[in-house]
């Protein structure tokens, strides 16, 4: 099927060239980082994880969000999703590719990454994260590819795929749970030390993943002859609406626990993020923007009138996507590290260079995504014709 990826219009080639160009610039900056060290970033002794890990965390969510189309289709036999499951699976693949790349660019000694497998350490959550992420990538590749190929040949997919499909559903939950466990099992980091972190990660995943999928489906409707279907998009929108409500609810639970108990270790991180602490508050406008976006997303997606209108649906999905990105990306990581274990406030401000590497990784991800979607859409067009 790979040949489908190289047969395309001028517009397709132009888009791919653009993505490759951006990824190339990112790669050049990464070479600079390899040479100089992670000192080109804004990270410090106190905030030792930054933009890379933030985007990694967010994208694990997008990857896990793909399960929101896989589950209804395969478990509840919700036929309508037959048209979009492959898109969900391929979005998951591209997201995991970005996740793994973000981890690699974040390592101080990337050429030693195999040490994780050479000296397996089951007590480290990072070890498990490596396993579940790569496993999820593998599962989605095998499932997505074979199901699509079967569809192309006009046959039912092979029976041995069935167990893999069933495994992939809890596996999607596991990737984001394990990623949350990276944070929530650390003593002395009050902001993360909460049992609701994994559920919260999942709820924002099930909001932002499908929100992105809706936007992508709408793009596909415009630029190709394949229509993922308005009904499917609407069902997805309901999923997003519920998930974003639950996400905000979980956030409010956190706020209640912190502010009613008034335990400084828990309150101070939220204070830093939302009003500033010790005169420092670079994230304050961002966090309020995030809250406003999530609330706007709820209003636009819960209300059936605005959900069913294409324009307001698009706006709603964009609100949810970026609201979650700020909340989980920017806020979650910086908020956990500030104030530091000695209760000093040293802020983290990403640098231009790490921003360029980040955009480069996204370009790489969208390159992979475009190839996969191109193949999927071409097969769908072929089958229809």
């Amino acid at each position: 099927m790979l040949e489908l990826a190289v047969k395309g219009s001028k517009r397709y080639y132009g888009w791919m060239a653009l993505l490759l160009g951006i990824a190339g610039v990112g790669f050049l900056v990464y070479l600079k980082q390899l040479d100089f060290g992670l000192g080109i970033t804004g990270m410090s002794r106190d905030v030792s994880w930054g933009f890379y890990i933030a985007n990694f965390t967010f994208l694990v969510g997008v990857a896990a969000g793909g399960v929101m189309v896989v589950l209804p289709y395969y478990l509840h036999d919700y036929k309508a999703y037959g048209k979009v499951t492959i898109l969900g699976e391929f979005l998951a693949i591209a997201s995991v590719v970005m996740c793994i790349t973000f981890i690699l660019v974040d390592l101080g000694q990337p050429m030693r990454v195999m040490n994780v497998l050479l000296y397996p350490s089951p007590n480290s959550v990072l070890f498990w994260d490596t396993i579940v992420l790569n496993g999820y990538l593998f599962l989605n590749l095998v499932i997505g590819w074979n199901v699509l190929e079967a569809e192309r040949n006009g046959v039912h997919y092979q029976n041995w795929l069935k167990p893999l499909i069933y495994i992939s559903i809890p596996w999607a939950v596991s990737i984001h749970t394990v990623t949350a466990y990276l944070y929530c099992g650390l003593p002395g980091r009050g902001f993360w030390l909460t049992a609701i972190l994994a559920p919260r990660f999942l709820s924002s995943a099930f909001a932002s993943g499908p929100a992105l999928l809706i936007l992508l489906c709408l793009v596909i409707r415009r630029v190709t002859n394949f229509d993922p279907g308005w009904k499917q998009i609407q069902s997805l929108a309901v999923t997003v609406a519920y998930a974003i409500c639950i996400n905000v609810f979980f956030l409010l639970c956190e706020v209640f626990v912190a502010f009613y108990s008034q335990i400084p270790e828990h309150v101070d991180h939220l204070l830093y993020l939302f009003v500033g602490l010790q005169g420092k508050g670079a994230y304050v406008p961002w966090m309020w923007t995030s809250m406003a976006l999530m609330v706007a997303g709820i209003i636009l997606l819960v209300n059936p009138i605005t959900r069913k209108n294409e324009l307001t649906l698009i706006v709603g999905c964009i609100c949810v996507f970026f609201g979650c990105w700020i909340d989980k990306g920017l806020g979650m990581i910086s908020g956990g590290f500030v104030p530091n274990p000695l209760h000093e406030v040293n802020e983290y401000i990403p640098t231009l260079l790490e921003g360029m590497i980040t955009i480069g990784v996204y370009a790489l991800g969208f390159f992979v995504l475009t190839i996969l979607f191109k193949i999927a859409v071409s097969v769908k067009e072929e089958v229809r014709a």
Binding site: G37, G39, R45, S48, L107, S124, G336, P341
Partner: protein
């Protein structure tokens, strides 16, 4: 040190021993006619040992920054710890901070005895009995030596993921955001320098203990710091803990820090 590496060292030792008999070894020796000293593998006979090394810091004896500087200087100098002016790249194994920062979460931030408020409190890796940094490390580059409880770093295995930094509740760890060597004014050839992209921290002077010497900061402290075996009832640290009121940092987290503070 894990067993595989120990085996490599043993093999090296064996081959060195094999070499030492014939004249081949003489070429390696400084002076050909001098009898070559047998190469030594593992700790020497004078090595200091313990079940769990621990430190007691007699904080009332520290009056001002002047009292801590020689200790920090001694540690950072012999361990090739670089000095960066850029705060983001800062590396420190041992440093002084204020009472409420050292014991955040445990002590009052207000209404503190004036003298205590101005007293410098030394902080360093606590070589926790139950270290979360070791639990977090995905490569065992951070590990706790079973024989004496020292939490050690393997600079050659560390992948620079910084999970241990997030896991340490004491901010004891530093990361080499760039090559540290240009920032060294002086290099101690007896101790390895690091490369960019790895984590480092206080090692309880494991290399000095192996030679029968006390940690550098303890030696420079003129009695303000005491070092010894926590699990030996007759040790000097246990003696001090028995006879003085001591506190530790963030005991509520269950990491069991092995650095005790007399206040």
């Amino acid at each position: 040190m894990d067993t595989s590496r120990r085996r490599v060292l043993q093999l090296l030792g064996l081959s060195a021993a094999a070499l030492s008999a014939p004249p081949v070894f003489n070429a390696l020796a400084k002076e050909a006619h001098e009898p070559a000293a047998a190469p030594q593998i593992g700790p020497s006979k004078e090595a200091l040992t313990a079940k769990q090394w621990a430190m007691v810091i007699d904080t009332p004896k520290f009056k001002s920054e002047k009292d801590v500087e020689p200790l920090v200087e001694a540690c950072h100098k012999i361990h090739n710890v670089p000095h960066w002016d850029e705060k983001r790249w800062e590396i420190k194994w041992l440093w002084a901070t204020h009472y409420e920062h050292a014991f955040t979460g445990t002590v009052s931030r207000r209404f503190v005895a004036e003298e205590v408020q101005h007293r410098p409190f030394l902080v360093l890796c606590n070589h926790c009995e139950n270290p979360p940094c070791v639990r977090a490390c995905p490569t065992k580059a951070t590990f706790k030596r079973p024989e004496d409880g020292i939490v050690m770093m393997d600079f050659h295995r560390c992948i620079g993921c910084r999970f241990c930094m997030a896991a340490c509740p004491f901010g004891a760890r530093s990361f080499n955001y760039r090559d540290p060597r240009p920032a060294l004014k002086y290099t101690n050839k007896q101790f390895p320098t690091r490369m960019k992209g790895v984590v480092e921290k206080c090692s309880f002077c494991v290399e000095r203990l192996a030679e029968g010497k006390m940690p550098a900061c303890v030696e420079a402290s003129e009695g303000k710091l005491t070092f010894g075996d926590l699990f030996d009832e007759k040790s000097k640290v246990r003696e001090l803990i028995k006879t003085h009121y001591t506190i530790r940092r963030k005991v509520n987290l269950g990491t069991e820090p092995a650095v005790y503070y007399i206040v």
